[in-house]
Structures are given as structure tokens and as C-alpha cells.
């Protein structure tokens, strides 16, 4: 049962075995698993509930209701746009359905350097295998590659770079190209279509889902969390209080919001909450082709190049990914103003777009900004900047190798590369956030997991240090940036955490 803000008529009190905060990749799975274990659950989601019938594929209508802050979330200084979903189902509703297992090298770092127990590739395998069929993860088929993806594929083949079709959680995709405006056909197997739908049909009696319900504070007593104070937005300025008493609380609100909630609740464990945030900053490289590319037709993110990524090298690097966007979102990274900008946008159907996703060092920090709300401080390190420049150069080389007449970077000063001789411009124009339009859809870290309680916020099983019944499980627990699209890692961690809770329930709620 999903209770929406408009249904609330006054203050509400709830009592449940488990309170889960956030209904995205982790929260939905944990809620399901807790219900499966026989527990009652209250699931709080700050965003609204929008079934697929609401998804009209219009940017103007969907961005305000599906994205956090209407898509307006920026790092300081520099203003890198950080996109996150804010609706029942979380970011899984608005992502491009790309599923990567956590690279073995990354799991190795987490196990060896961060001393996390039972997180090696072998230990995680069963969780991936449990999740993948449930959300219909399958490989993009050759006939599903659109021209934008084919540019990346053929470029990689020509240059001898390792590449592959993406794995996606999509069943019988209609290839409408508008995944990140919510899947109108219900074929993307987001949390909304899978775990949330299953919770409603199978465990509707045990799980109460509150949409438009923002958790404001965790209520503690000694080393235990005893409840959650929340508020339900009923629209038109009406807000009702919601108080949840629970034996156990799981915070799965996403990298930024989970840190924010802990900080607001005064639970800055070891002074580490909010630290070590990475975002996978991604510049766009746009190739202009004589013939039409029509990148928006078909699956937006269907192919990737992992030649320079941790997947192949075992070291931090970058991934090149084909991506396409509808017109408004496509217009954002383009440089220029007025007639110049119009000239570029008039070539929309001729543009091929490659995203360069940098696996960054985790140096960002979530801080409470008083009247200005929660802020994400983030700067590129010199090493990340160098990686980004290298990635942009290789993306340009690839586009040029496939016949692009020019490659336009997302740098704020119009930078156009016509050939190898122009590549130096990319470094000269700079890649600091003041110099370039960067986007991110993968905030990670903030409540890092680790065996060393002095350096971490949660232990090897996502339990917050110093508390017996408080867990954080979402991308915020990543000790380092993961280097690939993170949703499957989050889901596998949720499965792992659920399993641990099930095995230790008596001890946790004693």
C-alpha cells in the first residue's frame, strides 16, 4: 500500500519492526527482504509516487517530478550537476538501466585496503546472481544498437580498444530512447516495476510505503535508534508530521541524503559522515557527422568501451559510454549562447555523443549549509583532471575515426577539435568545473564502509559504528568510487545486508 502526501489529513504515528528510509535500489530490496523474513516494514520515500501511466515522455513535465530538486543539484564550488531520482523507486526510475557487476579489482580494494569482510568477488557473486534475474538483466542485442552506439562500437573495433554491449535491466525494450524520463512502457525493470510492485502485491499487509515523506531525524536512545521523525508533504504548503517507532532502521536515501540525515541527527560517527564522496564526473564529447546519427532513437546507453577503465586495467581510469539525451538535456552541455547555441542545436540529429565517465578519487564532502540547505563540496584532484583530459582526447579520437567532421567539447569556452592537431586545446581550455560543463549521476560515498572503525562510518555489514540497530545501505557506503554504473553494486549490497540482518535479527533487536 502506497500512501501519498495528498492522503495525509493530520499527524501520523506508525510502529514497525523495520523502518527503511528511501525506496531506491537498496531501500526497495531491503524492504522486500525484511518482509520476506516476516517483519513489518514502514518505507519512507521523500519523492512522490508516479506509476508508469504518469510518464508522458515530456522533459518539461517529468524532470520536475522525478528528479531531486527538479534536477537542480550542484556541487560547490564549480556547479557540477548531480542528477538523482526522487520518487518511489528512486534513481532506478530515471537511470538508463545500465547494469555492471562491481569490478573484481574494486572489490579487491574494498576487501584488502578497507578491511571489509566477505566482500570479495566470490562472496558477492551469489548476491549478483540473486538480483540479476529478478530485474531481468540481459545483454543489449546487436539489432538494438542505435547509430550512436554503433559509432562507439565501430570506433573501438578500429582502434583496437576493448568494448562490449551493456547489460541492462530491461525486458522487451521498446527502444523509445527516453529511459531517464521514466519508462512509459514499464519494460525497464526499475524498483518501481519489480520490488515495489512485488511488495504491494505480495506483502501489502506487512509493508506500508509512504511517498512524499521526508525523514528529518533519527531518534536515538543510548546505542540504539528508536524511531524516525518525518514530515509528509501534502502539497500547497501543508505538511504533517509522521513519527515511526521501529526496532531497526535502515537508511537508504542515497549518497547525499543519507549523510545529510545522519548529520542532521547529530550522528557524525567518528567525524567521518559526509566525507569521501565521489561522483564519477563526466564531460560530454559531441561528434558532428555529415549523415544523421539520430542518437535519441533507440536505447540511449547501449554500449561501452572499457579499454581504459578499472574493468580491464585494474586501476582507476575512465569508461567511454554511448549516451543520448532528449533536446533540452542535450542542450545543457553545449557551449555558447544565442545564435551560436542555436547553430549547434540545429545539428542535434547529426550529433553522436560519448560520455567520459571518470573513476574519481573520493574527495568530496556533504556538509550542512544552514539556511542554504545541504551542500556537496567537491573538487577535481590534479590526477582526476589529467584522467579526464586523457579520456576526452580519446573520445575525440574515436569520434574523428568514425568520420566526425568536428568534435565539440562541453568546455564553457567553445572548443572544437577537427583533428589530432587540435587535441591540445582540451587541456589548454581546462577541465576544472569552472572551465567545463560536467555532469554526474553517480554520487557515492559519504558513509564509507570499512573494518577500521576510526576511518569508517559503517562496519563490514553496513551497521553504523556505535549503534546496534542502525544500518546505512546505499551508494554512500562505497569506500571508493566504483568505476562503473553503480546500481547493481548497490542492489547486491542490499541483498548482502538483508542476509546479514536475517542471520542476526535476534542480536540486532535485543
Amino acid at each position: 500500500m502506497i500512501l501519498q502526501g495528498k492522503d495525509a489529513k493530520g499527524p501520523v504515528s506508525e510502529r514497525a519492526d523495520v523502518c527503511v528510509i528511501g525506496s531506491g535500489a537498496a531501500g526497495a530490496i531491503i524492504s522486500w527482504e525484511m518482509a520476506e523474513q516476516g517483519h513489518t516494514v514502514v518505507l519512507l520515500e521523500k519523492g512522490g509516487y508516479h506509476p508508469r501511466q504518469d510518464f508522458n515522455q515530456q522533459e518539461a513535465d517529468m524532470i520536475p517530478i522525478l528528479f531531486k530538486n527538479c534536477g537542480l543539484q550542484f556541487t560547490i564550488p564549480g556547479g557540477i550537476a548531480v542528477a538523482q531520482g526522487s520518487c518511489v523507486g528512486g534513481s532506478t526510475v530515471v537511470n538508463d538501466a545500465v547494469c555492471f557487476r562491481t569490478p573484481d579489482a574494486v572489490l579487491g580494494w574494498w576487501q584488502d585496503e578497507h578491511k571489509i569482510e566477505g566482500i570479495g568477488p566470490e562472496a558477492m557473486k551469489k548476491h549478483f546472481e540473486r538480483i540479476e534475474p529478478r530485474i531481468s538483466v540481459n545483454e543489449v542485442q546487436p539489432f538494438q544498437l542505435n547509430r550512436n552506439s554503433l559509432i562507439l562500437k565501430r570506433g573501438c573495433e578500429k582502434l583496437g580498444w576493448a568494448s562490449a554491449p551493456n547489460m541492462r535491466n530491461c525486458k522487451d525494450c521498446r527502444q523509445c530512447g527516453l529511459c531517464h524520463l521514466g519508462c512509459s512502457y514499464g519494460t525497464k525493470q526499475s524498483m518501481l516495476e519489480t520490488y515495489i510492485a512485488d511488495i504491494q502485491s505480495v506483502h501489502g499487509d506487512r509493508v506500508r510505503i509512504y511517498a512524499d515523506a521526508a525523514a528529518n531525524k533519527l531518534v536515538t536512545s543510548g546505542d540504539r535508534v528508536i524511531g524516525v521523525k518525518a514530515s509528509v508533504d501534502s502539497g500547497k504548503g501543508r505538511v504533517h508530521s509522521l513519527s515511526v517507532k521501529a526496532d531497526m532502521v535502515v537508511v537508504s536515501a542515497g549518497s547525499i541524503a543519507s549523510s545529510e540525515l545522519l548529520l542532521k541527527s547529530g550522528l557524525n560517527v567518528n567525524g567521518r559522515v559526509g566525507r569521501n564522496v565521489a561522483i564519477h564526473p563526466s564531460p560530454a564529447m559531441i561528434g558532428d557527422f555529415q549523415e544523421e546519427v539520430r542518437g535519441h532513437e533507440g536505447i540511449p546507453m547501449a554500449y561501452h568501451c572499457h579499454e581504459f577503465s578499472v574493468v580491464k586495467t585494474g586501476k582507476r581510469g575512465y569508461m567511454l559510454e554511448s549516451i543520448s539525451l532528449p533536446p533540452y538535456q542535450f542542450s545543457l552541455p553545449l557551449p555558447g549562447f544565442s545564435y551560436d547555441h542555436k547553430e549547434l542545436m540545429s545539428r542535434y540529429e547529426h550529433f553522436g555523443l560519448i560520455g567520459t565517465m571518470v573513476q574519481d578519487e573520493s574527495v568530496g564532502r556533504v556538509v550542512l549549509g544552514g539556511p542554504f540547505g545541504t551542500l556537496l563540496r567537491y573538487e577535481l584532484t590534479p590526477k582526476d583532471s589529467a584522467t579526464m583530459v586523457e579520456g576526452m582526447k580519446n573520445a575525440a579520437r574515436l569520434l574523428l575515426s568514425q568520420g566526425a567532421t568536428r568534435v565539440i567539447t562541453s568546455q564553457k569556452k567553445r572548443t572544437v577539435v577537427h583533428g589530432e592537431d587540435d587535441l591540445y586545446l582540451i587541456k589548454r581550455r581546462g577541465v576544472s568545473p569552472l572551465d567545463i560543463n560536467l555532469a554526474s549521476a553517480h554520487p557515492q560515498g559519504g558513509n564509507v564502509m570499512g573494518g577500521d572503525r576510526e576511518r569508517s562510518v559503517v562496519d563490514s555489514h553496513s551497521k553504523v559504528y556505535g549503534f546496534e540497530n542502525l544500518f546505512v545501505c546505499d551508494a554512500s557506503v562505497f569506500p571508493t568510487s566504483v568505476g562503473v554504473n553503480p546500481q547493481l553494486t548497490v542492489m547486491a549490497l542490499a541483498s548482502r545486508t538483508s542476509e546479514h540482518i536475517g542471520e542476526n535479527w535476534g542480536r540486532i533487536v535485543k
Binding site: 527516453l178 533536446p327 549562447f337 547555441h341 540545429s346 540529429e349
Partner: protein
């Protein structure tokens, strides 16, 4: 001429000039600082009491005024009394009273009982200069909410036209596709803090202060002619910091322009497909059974 007579001559000179040229810079500096503080005050009010209450902003204004004027009083008095030199604590350049009386110009004024009285009188005017500056800076702050909204509408309309003028590769103008209206709608839907921040940016962009600084014209952006608007916008775009601000505004206006179906037509974007399948949809091996499933095409 003896040193004494030179002094005497200088003194008579001082009597003639002290009221017009001595203490030349302090009033101007106070006027300018007052203007900036007044501008900040005005822009803070654009946040509509959500970040700071109107009372807090007013207290801030009074505190800033008291602080700035006190600082000028103390520093200038110490200079005038030759307790410190100018520009203390940086390396010495002028004797304190010499600087206060001559402002670096070759006026030859020196301290006398007459100049002491004049100095006191000028010191007494310091708060007035600051006050005049703030009044100039916060001109318009008494606008009602409705008036401020009307002004914002005007800025949005003019800026939309400047961002998306008629002609070019996509000939439709902002006015023809209702960009300003869409931006207004967006501002009502986004979180209050962003609404206020973008509103503030719009007023900053429109400010006479910036127009004067960048184009030499004491006019608001909305009152500039087309060519002046271009010149003004080019300055924002050329500066590596201001270009980020300009891009936030451009992104906001793009929302109103590039989500329009008429604009789609110029680059052949098919737009939303629902309720139909996309025209380019190529059924794959498994697609034949799609329509039989629950939740098929809507």
C-alpha cells in the same frame, strides 16, 4: 620665502580649498561601499525571507554601516593625528595628516586649527555618505511582492529574447514559442531556494551596477537596446567566472525553449511517443509477444 611664511601661505590656501578638496576619497569610498552594501541588502530581500528574515537583513545592514563608518573614523582620525602613516600597515607612502588633507594631490595643505574644525565637520558627514550609498544601492527594495514579480517577468522576457532571438539556425524566437512563460512555470515548480537563487541572479544580471561596469551605461539590462544587450552579454560570456553564472541562466531559459514542439520541428525530433510505439522500433526476437503482456503499450 621663509618656512613660516610658506606655511602661512599654504594655510591661507587651505582656508580656500579645504572644504572642496581635502578628505576627498573617504566620502567617495563610503558612498561606493554603501552602494554595494545596499545592493546586497536589496538582493537578500529577493530571497523572500526564506534564508534571512527582513529584520535580519536590516540588522545586517545597520551592523555593516556601523562597522564600516567606525573603521573609517578610527583609521582616518589616526591618520589625521599622525598616529599612523598612510597606508599603514603597508610600507609608508605618505604622512598621515598629509594624506588626509591632500589626498595624494599636490595641494600643499598642512594641519592647522581651521583644518581641525573642518576635519571634525567632514568626519561628522561620514554616516551620511554611507547612507546615501545604501539608498542608491537598494533603490527599489520597497517594491511590493507583486511589483517585484512584474519586474522579474520583464527581465525574463527580455533575457529570453536576447538568448533566443528571431533568426539563426532555428529561426523561432523565444517570444514565438512562449519561452518566458515556460521559465515562469519552471520557477514556480523548483525548490524555493533555487527559485530565490535564480530570481536573485536575474536581478543581479539586470542591475544598473553591472551594466555600468561592463558597458559604461547607467541603465538596467531591460532598458538597453539590442546592440547594447549583445555587448553586455558578451562581457559575461568572456569572463571565466561570470560565464558560469550566465550558463545557469541559459540553462534555465533552454528549458523554456528546447522543450517546445515547434522547436523540435527544426531538428526533426519526434518527441514523445506515447501512446504509440516509436516509429523506428525494430521488433527483436522476443518482441512478438510484447502486446500480450500485462502493462503492454499504453
Amino acid at each position: 620665502m621663509t618656512r613660516a611664511s610658506r606655511l602661512l601661505n599654504t594655510n591661507s590656501h587651505a582656508k580656500r580649498r579645504v572644504s572642496t578638496l581635502s578628505f576627498l576619497l573617504d566620502p567617495l569610498a563610503l558612498l561606493l561601499i554603501g552602494f554595494v552594501v545596499g545592493k546586497v541588502y536589496y538582493l537578500a530581500l529577493a530571497f523572500g525571507d526564506r534564508v534571512f528574515t527582513r529584520g535580519e537583513v536590516r540588522e545586517g545592514l545597520v551592523a555593516a554601516g556601523a562597522g564600516v563608518v567606525s573603521l573609517f573614523w578610527v583609521y582616518s582620525a589616526l591618520l589625521y593625528l599622525n598616529v599612523i602613516y598612510f597606508p599603514w600597515p603597508l610600507p609608508r607612502w605618505y604622512q598621515g595628516s598629509n594624506w588626509m588633507l591632500n589626498s595624494g594631490l599636490p595641494l600643499g595643505l598642512t594641519r592647522t586649527p581651521t583644518t581641525d574644525v573642518a576635519a571634525l565637520a567632514i568626519f561628522a558627514t561620514y554616516p551620511v555618505w554611507f547612507l546615501i550609498g545604501t539608498e542608491l544601492g537598494k533603490a527599489g527594495h520597497r517594491l511590493s511582492a507583486a511589483q517585484r514579480l512584474r519586474e522579474r517577468k520583464r527581465i525574463i522576457k527580455e533575457l529570453a529574447e536576447a538568448e533566443f532571438p528571431k533568426g539563426g539556425a532555428i529561426p523561432l524566437s523565444a517570444e514565438e514559442v512562449g519561452t518566458a512563460g515556460s521559465v515562469e512555470t519552471l520557477l514556480e515548480r523548483i525548490p524555493p531556494l533555487f527559485h530565490d537563487a535564480i530570481t536573485t541572479l536575474l536581478f543581479v544580471f539586470d542591475s544598473r551596477f553591472f551594466v555600468l561596469a561592463f558597458t559604461g551605461r547607467w541603465k538596467r539590462f531591460v532598458d538597453l537596446d539590442e546592440e547594447e544587450k549583445w555587448r553586455y552579454m558578451e562581457v559575461w560570456e568572456a569572463n571565466s567566472f561570470l560565464v558560469s553564472v550566465a550558463q545557469i541562466l541559459r540553462m534555465t531559459f533552454s528549458y523554456g525553449y528546447y522543450t517546445n514542439r515547434q522547436v523540435y520541428g527544426f531538428f526533426d525530433y519526434k518527441g514523445p511517443m506515447v501512446p504509440n510505439l516509436p516509429p523506428w522500433f525494430v521488433p527483436g526476437p522476443e518482441a512478438a509477444r510484447i502486446t500480450d503482456e500485462p502493462g503492454g503499450p499504453i
